[in-house]
């Protein structure tokens, strides 16, 4: 029963959502919309479990003075500090002038932007590896990349107007064709995975009864 009940719930809700996609009638649509709301409620409830897990793991490591425990302390201080500020401001925590927003905009956002900015360096190192010409395919990739990079900046047009036109053609024809091929395959993969789950064929997922 540990396995059958979840499969039954998945089957019923999955088929209902599938039908709800095609049927706009309120008899179906209202319940379909309700199910979407339940998802939000359930996900909201899991935050309690997530925070409990975060606290348990990090408090244990701090109390045991595990390696790098000061970092865990910073994390806990940030978590508890932000929660305290947020709760102290009640429903006004998201106002533009709130302390919560001040901390978020002046502490978290710059740190987040810093992480994102690192992407430029990672792209440079990855591009260096990607454009090493070790095969005919790599040569084609490098030529296409060169045309695109030059074609997307003003100097490309200054050298010759055909360069930006070639860059546009690369993006609109071969790139689009490959992308659409991948997307069609992925869409069918989504259908296959969804149907396997709805029909309970995926035995690899959520068994836990000792059957391998």
């Amino acid at each position: 029963m540990k396995r059958e009940i979840p499969i039954l719930i998945t089957l019923v809700t999955g088929l209902f959502c599938l039908i709800g996609f095609f049927v706009p009638h309120p008899y179906v649509r209202l319940l379909y919309d309700d199910i979407q709301q339940w998802v939000i409620v359930i996900v909201g409830a899991t935050y309690v479990l997530g925070v409990a897990n975060l606290l348990r793991i990090n408090l244990t490591q701090v109390s045991q003075k595990a390696p790098d425990w000061p970092y865990k302390l910073v994390l806990l201080a940030g978590l508890i500090g932000m929660m305290a500020i947020g709760f102290s401001e009640g429903s006004h925590y998201s106002d533009d002038a709130s302390k919560f927003q001040w901390v978020y905009n002046r502490v978290y956002s710059p740190m987040s932007a810093t992480m994102f900015a690192l992407l430029a360096f990672f792209i440079a190192s990855a591009a260096f590896r990607a454009f090493r010409i070790r095969s005919f395919e790599a040569l084609l990739l490098a030529i296409a990349a060169f045309i695109l990079m030059v074609g997307r900046v003003p100097i490309g047009n200054a050298i010759h107007p055909v360069i930006p036109a070639a860059a546009d053609w690369l993006m609109e024809v071969p790139q689009n064709a490959a992308k659409r091929g991948i997307l069609i395959g992925a869409a069918l993969g989504v259908m296959a995975t969804g149907i396997r789950l709805i029909l309970g064929m995926e035995k690899t997922y959520g068994s836990g009864e000792g059957s391998s």
């Binding site: 009638h25 479990l49 990607a130 992925a186 069918l188 296959a192 690899t204």
Partner: protein, 374 residues
């Protein structure tokens, strides 16, 4: 001709409307909005020039008194009345009243339209046909699998490499880091990742290799924790399961990246599996994994992130390979049958696409238009 004035118009908005139909009034078409959930009437018109600055749309139940519904820009030519006061099964008539008042520019009173909900959204009929075709082919292949039919599929190097990567980690005495993407559990890529996690956790349990699964959603954390626990139970190693194998870090994208990169640099796993939905963080994670010398296997259906993974990882499962992975790893005939069904439908779609291209080139866009989703 009756005299109309602004004063008269204002008075008319407060009391029942009674616009006489003028000989040169333009027609106003009112119809039940198709393919909807009801309580909606679609209006179209083609007013002659010069157009007024605004229209006041008025509505009445058939035989009743007109009342204003909305004020519209004079250049509009269509409008959908979805005001909360509209009811299914009631016949409504509409009229456009020119503003500033000029009765010569008013529309005719429309024919009666009765809103009602539809049982099928015909604009999605193309998706419905493909879905039904998929179901039919799927049940056929499942039936064949039950009768003993077996199919062979090409080997996907990335899948073969998963067991090799875990074996390598075991030999090196290091761990395996499994990153399930940054989408929530309602995303099909995350669900597919959980299925793969079940397979990976069985292997790490079998090889007694340390597994670490950082998540960025508490819902994914709860599911992943259950999946890993089940995986360890499945191979009889429930005792080896550790509650901190799966952990929730944060729901913020770049905070998650910082935390996972920190884990990579401190714990230095021998294998990094990036399987799920990834966005801007894909290269940040993959390049960090590359810098620590971990064998990296990535899989995603996000087309824009695939090039980053191809460059930075040892193996990449792209698009449908990612969704097919669990079936191929399990070697279950029924699951392989679903792959065969997907391949069959894909072949049919390729034929239809080619046919649509030929017909469109010959000047007949019907098939192409039917497959349009926008």
């Amino acid at each position: 001709m009756p005299r109309f004035s602004l004063r008269w118009l204002v008075a008319s908005l407060a009391v029942p409307f009674a616009f006489p139909a003028l000989a040169d009034a333009f027609p106003l078409q009112a119809n039940d909005t198709p393919n909807d959930g009801g309580k909606s009437v679609s209006l179209t018109w083609s007013a002659p020039d010069p157009k007024p600055a605004q229209w006041i749309l008025v509505r009445r139940e058939r035989g009743g008194a007109f009342a204003p519904v909305a004020t519209l820009d004079g250049n509009l030519s269509r409008y959908t009345d979805e005001s909360g006061t509209i009811a299914d099964g009631t016949a409504y008539e509409y009229q456009l009243v020119a503003q500033p008042a000029d009765p010569a520019r008013n529309s005719e009173v429309s024919g009666a339209a009765t809103p009602s909900p539809d049982w099928l959204d015909a604009t999605k009929s193309n998706v419905l046909v493909v879905t039904l075709l998929f179901f039919i082919v799927l049940f056929f292949t499942i039936n064949q699998a039950h009768r003993g039919k077996r199919w062979t599929f090409r080997k996907i190097p990335g899948l073969v490499a998963i067991e090799e990567a875990i074996g390598r980690a075991t030999e090196m005495g290091k761990g395996v880091l499994y990153i399930p993407g940054i989408q929530d559990i309602d995303d099909i890529q995350t669900i597919a990742s959980m299925i793969l996690l079940a397979q990976v956790s069985r292997l790490t349990a079998k090889y007694e290799t340390k597994l670490s699964v950082p998540t960025n959603s508490p819902a994914v954390y709860t599911v992943a924790d259950e999946v890993v626990k089940s995986g360890y139970q499945d191979v009889g190693r429930a005792d080896a399961y550790q509650p901190d194998m799966v952990r929730y870090l944060t729901s913020e994208q770049f905070a998650y990246v910082a935390a996972v990169n920190g884990m990579m640099l401190r714990e230095r796993p021998a294998a990094t599996l990036l399987l799920g939905a990834f966005f801007a963080e894909s290269l940040l994670l993959a390049e960090t994994g590359h810098s620590i010398g971990a064998i990296q296997i990535a899989g995603t259906a996000n087309v824009h992130q695939m090039p980053f993974f191809v460059v930075a990882c040892d193996y990449t499962l792209i698009g449908e390979e990612y969704y097919a992975a669990s079936a191929l790893l399990s070697n279950d005939p029924l699951l392989l049958g679903s792959l065969k069904a997907a391949d069959t439908v894909k072949f049919v779609l390729i034929v239809v696409i080619a046919l649509g291209c030929i017909l469109s080139t010959m000047g007949n866009p019907t098939l192409g238009a039917w497959f349009s989703t926008q």
